[in-house]
């Protein structure tokens, strides 16, 4: 299928991109990796009047560690995250998650900034961002992940605001991300991430609602000495997942519990 026609411009810097977005008006949209946007445009579910391409902006593709945080440029590709030694040493959970995003071809193009801004309910990085209290750095401010993801496909970003970086705390403790899906390259039916951080656990759940959620109840239970199995029973607290052709709401709730327990048990 064929996307509807649009105007196209390449941004040469973040400021240029913001400027172009402002000039082009509300019909404009940025394109980063385009791995969600282009299929949606081909199905004509998205018909932006103008695309501002971020791929020509230098210096947004990096993984660096500074002051206890892992800073990742918005245009860093999944494939780069998979290969990054620095990431594996300082935030191995994210490296593990990156390996499970899409397929090799999607990972060549797709970017971490694009996943954040797109805010798909089944996106994997938002879960990691939420559970680790990451910050989304834009061209004008820093937004804590818990404030950034507002609803399905909806973030705190202004129409002309760009994600330029995502900052995670260095997290080298035991971790695991379990992604339950029918086929390996599918979006998660439900996924659960766990990360040992400081003296506690961080637990996040993917696709059990319109946005990723942080499983505070599980974290609290673990902190009060519950076993993984006991704590995992709290994983479905407050969740209200939808039903679709791949799974019912009840099954998603159940999976949230099972995967939480298994992730905690398997975390290394």
């Amino acid at each position: 299928m064929i996307p509807a026609a649009f105007e196209y411009s390449r941004a040469t810097s973040v400021a240029d991109a913001v400027n172009q977005l402002r000039t082009a008006g509300p019909e404009a949209k940025v394109i980063a990796g385009g791995q969600s946007l282009l299929p949606m445009m081909r199905l004509r579910l998205a018909q932006p009047g103008h695309l501002v391409d971020l791929n020509g902006i230098p210096d947004l593709d990096y993984v660096r560690v500074k002051d206890g945080s892992v800073q990742i440029g918005a245009m860093t590709r999944h494939a780069t995250l998979v290969r990054s030694e620095l990431l594996r040493a300082n935030l191995p959970l994210l490296a593990e998650v990156a390996k499970e995003v899409g397929d090799p071809q999607v990972r060549t193009r797709g970017t971490i900034g694009g996943v954040m801004a797109h805010a798909d309910a089944a996106g994997d990085y938002p879960t990691v961002a939420l559970m680790l209290d990451a910050e989304i750095v834009t061209d004008r401010r820093r937004i804590p992940a818990r404030d950034f993801f507002q609803h399905l496909f909806t973030t705190a970003l202004e129409p002309d605001e760009l994600v330029v970086e995502v900052d995670f705390p260095v997290s080298t403790g035991a971790h695991r991300y379990l992604k339950f899906r029918r086929r390996v390259f599918d979006w998660a039916i439900v996924a659960v991430g766990v990360q040992r951080l400081g003296d506690g656990w961080r637990v996040g759940i993917t696709h059990a609602g319109p946005t990723a959620v942080r499983a505070h109840a599980v974290e609290d239970a673990l902190r009060s000495g519950a076993t993984p199995a006991e704590a995992a029973e709290r994983a479905s607290d407050g969740l209200n997942p939808n039903s679709d052709v791949h799974a019912s709401s009840e099954f998603r709730l159940h999976l949230a519990q099972v995967l939480t327990r298994r992730a905690l048990e398997q975390a290394a």
Partner: protein, 781 residues
């Protein structure tokens, strides 16, 4: 007969060099000068009345050459789309189908208008500007609900939704059940599947008004039938229509029957006087390429406590969709094949075809035989479970062993050795070892299951007597033509066509061996109605080798006979005094007196022919098989179900199949791999889902319609037995559908076996984690 060099050998495929280097010739690769592009405007509703269609905005959009609606096509196309007359007189309501809707749309995706433009981007843009006003009507979604009197009708004009209702009686079913010591009953669902060849469909047509010639290129399994149908509809003599299918990127049955676009594209080309092309998008493919399966069975089996099978009674409710598929009735063969490889006192099958507001169903890989096998193998397992007998043992107790074997409906299985394949499969899979591991696993709460599927199928269609009635007068035989050219190379034509089955290779092996020439000298042609014999019958029902290959063999033998007569003349001996070996005719007792068949071929174009012999060395032959062929085998699958998540892991999959003599083992194994994968995929992944209330398609893209990747298909262990078919001279049987026919039952039997400690007897397809988890939950609570 020549000493065989090629038959039976793992010859690398001749098709491959172009395909692996990116030089295949698929329909979308053809871009003639002046090409226009068609986009189809389709109904978004499963059922609605069309109130108006406004085409003005689209017609004035950039690059648009025409916007056409039903009334434009009524001037071009006469009649209705074809439906096999099978089941007459029991056939009930057959709604007439025109390729494009006028007043009423009856499924989501039915064409209502087309846009033809200078390029496909502009055509897609303009298609969005066609404004159709609809008055939605109630949609009939569930076939069983559609049977209930008073149900909304799939067509407002229809008397009801019953397309056919027919009962096949195979023996005294009441008597069989009267003797029963145990009976089991089950309701077995066959979900709708989207065949999903990797290449979607496509049609390109060019009409020359000066000589009134029409050429159609399309992605098809069946070019000659398409020529027959389209020439009739367009009022062009069949002889002036040429249909060409070059490389076809998979078909699996979905490219047998004619589609609306097969008519609309040539008609648009005639209206516009320019070549016109339409290439199906995947979204259109999932929505409108004919689906397979879509059936619900209720079945009851009767047996004695010692495991003797007595009677099988079943009802097939088949979701026809909004129209009868051209060859959709074939799927009712599930009833005739439901007895499988066993001796039953009686089998009775009732088939009810029901109209609904969905895309029509039509043959998909196996078409009725997978459903029949699945049902039979499930019911046999249910009997075994009921009486506490090992399912393999129960199978052995009831196998047909005398061949030819006449089944309950008088169909005659030509040859078989069901014990042989089952024994071999049990050994390969380590059946007793797995039964032990299963028992140990159960102690620890693990859900391990072992499933057998001992299958037989009917394939190789013909014979003419049995098939003429089913196709409106054209019997399913096969035609071939072989031409020996003066310089010694051979052009061979056959009326089947390939969609990946490697016919070019397999058939060339046969021709080369039969004529005793190197394979490189054989040029195999198919897929173009302008070449070769006057008709071809296409590829489906695993018929190409057993019928088309035999037609080639027959033509080659005619050529050999003539060559032998000519060689005798050249060597001045009686033809009977010649032997033929490795392409050379030699005088018996004087091997130095010889002529190669190439020398004879040249002579056939020269002077000095024997009196009465015509020039040339070529033959056209039609092969009308005396019977179908009946491949069979045994598949065994071992699975483990994750009790917590319902996820299924296939530990082992073994298939021992028998398709008689094998021409090219490499290709046979490839066919089995792919076929088994599709059956496993039906068992575990695929389902076309519709919203039960709105009738809207829920699985409209490959994101939701789950074609598995490499990671979801387990390792497959194959072996075979060889029981030649007495039906044809080479002793071959079909193998294209075998894997699919056998495998869903093996997987589901294994899963049902795994869950049996929980009191679960039957699992429907696809056995998704969610479905299994719910069943386990219910069983445990």
């Amino acid at each position: 007969m020549a000493v065989s060099q090629l038959i039976g050998a793992r010859v690398q495929r001749r098709e491959d060099p172009r395909l692996i280097t990116g030089h295949g010739r698929f329909i979308e690769d053809r871009l003639p000068v002046g090409l226009l592009h068609m986009a189809v405007v389709r109904s978004p509703h499963p059922h609605a009345r069309i109130l108006s269609i406004a085409t003005e905005a689209a017609a004035s959009a950039p690059g648009v050459r025409a916007v056409l609606v039903a009334k434009d096509f009524h001037a071009q196309l006469s009649g209705t789309m074809p439906v096999t007359p099978a089941f007459a007189p029991e056939k009930k309501y057959v709604p007439e189908r025109f390729p494009i809707a006028s007043d009423e749309v009856c499924f989501q995706g039915e064409p209502v208008a087309v846009v033809v433009a200078d390029d496909r981007y502009l055509a897609a843009d303009a298609a969005e500007l066609v404004v159709v006003e609809y008055d939605p009507l109630p949609a009939v979604v569930d076939p069983e609900a559609a049977m209930v009197p008073g149900s909304p009708r799939a067509h407002v004009e229809g008397p009801d939704n019953i397309g056919w209702d027919m009962t096949f009686d195979g023996g005294d079913i009441e008597a069989a059940f009267a003797r029963a010591e145990v009976t089991v009953s089950e309701r077995i669902w066959q979900q709708r599947l989207a065949p999903t060849p990797m290449e979607p469909r496509g049609v390109l047509a060019e009409y020359s008004p000066y000589d009134e010639r029409l050429t159609i290129w399309l992605s098809s399994q069946n070019p000659h039938f398409i020529r027959l149908f389209i020439s009739g509809a367009m009022g062009i003599p069949e002889s002036r229509v040429r249909v060409v299918a070059e490389d076809v990127g998979g078909g699996f049955g979905s490219k047998i029957s004619p589609y609306p676009e097969d008519y609309l594209v040539p008609a648009a080309a005639r209206i516009l006087g320019r070549p016109v092309r339409w290439i199906e998008t995947r979204t259109e493919s999932v929505q409108t390429s004919y689906h397979g399966r879509g059936q619900v069975f209720t079945a009851e089996a009767a047996a004695l406590r010692d495991g003797t099978l007595l009677g099988l009674r079943l009802t097939q409710v088949l979701d026809l969709g909004a129209y009868h598929g051209t060859f959709g009735a074939f799927q009712a063969c599930a009833c005739l094949m439901a007895g499988g490889v066993y001796r039953w006192a009686a089998v009775q099958g009732r088939t009810i075809g029901v109209l609904t507001n969905k895309v029509p169903t039509d043959p998909y890989r196996g078409a009725g035989r997978p459903e029949g096998t699945h049902l039979c193998e499930r019911m046999v397992d249910r009997v075994a479970q009921e009486i506490g007998m090992d399912p393999a043992e129960l199978r052995r107790k009831n196998f047909a062993r005398e061949f030819p074997f006449s089944n309950n409906f008088g169909l005659v299985y030509d040859s078989g050795n069901y014990d042989g394949s089952l024994d071999k499969a049990m050994e390969l899979v380590d059946y007793s070892g797995w039964r032990q591991r299963q028992a140990e696993g159960r102690q620890q709460g693990r859900l391990i299951g072992i499933g057998c599927s001992t299958w037989v199928e009917i394939c190789g269609f013909g014979p003419s007597e049995a098939t003429a009635g089913a196709t409106g007068g054209i019997a399913l035989v096969e035609a071939a033509q072989i031409r020996f050219l003066p310089s010694g190379s051979v052009a061979a034509y056959v009326g089947t066509h390939a969609q990946g089955q490697g016919h070019d290779t397999t058939f060339s092996q046969i021709v080369a061996d039969t004529l005793g020439i190197p394979m490189e000298k054989v040029e195999l042609r198919h897929g173009d109605t302008a070449e070769g014999p006057s008709f071809g019958y296409g590829t489906y029902g695993s018929r190409s080798l057993a019928v088309g290959g035999m037609a080639l063999h027959k033509a080659a033998m005619v050529i050999r006979d003539k060559a032998q007569r000519l060689a005798g003349h050249m060597l001045e001996v009686s033809p009977d005094d010649l032997t033929f070996e490795q392409g050379t005719f030699s005088v018996k007792g004087d091997p130095s007196a010889r002529k190669t068949i190439e020398e004879v071929a040249l002579a056939a174009y020269g002077g000095k022919l024997p009196e009465g012999m015509e020039h040339g060395l070529e033959a056209t032959s039609y092969f009308d098989p005396p019977n179908w062929v009946w491949p069979f085998g045994a598949h065994i699958c071992v699975v483990e179900v994750d009790r917590e998540t319902g996820a299924v892991q296939v530990h082992k999959y073994v298939a021992v199949d028998d398709c008689g003599n094998v021409i090219n083992p490499m290709i046979v194994e490839g066919q089995l791999h792919g076929g088994i994968a599709q059956g496993i995929s039906q068992a575990l992944y695929e389902e076309v889902a519709y919203d039960q209330d709105s009738g809207l398609l829920l699985t409209g893209t490959m994101t939701d319609y789950l074609v598995p990747t490499m990671n979801e298909i387990p390792a497959l262990t194959l072996d075979r037995t060889v029981t030649p078919s007495p039906t044809n001279p080479l002793g071959v049987k079909g193998i294209g559908e075998a894997g699919t026919i056998a495998s869903s039952a093996a997987v589901i039997n294994a899963i049902s076996d795994a869950l049996s400690p929980l009191g679960i007897h039957h699992v429907d397809m696809p056995a998704s984690p969610d479905r299994l988890w719910k069943m386990i939950q219910e069983a445990e609570s």
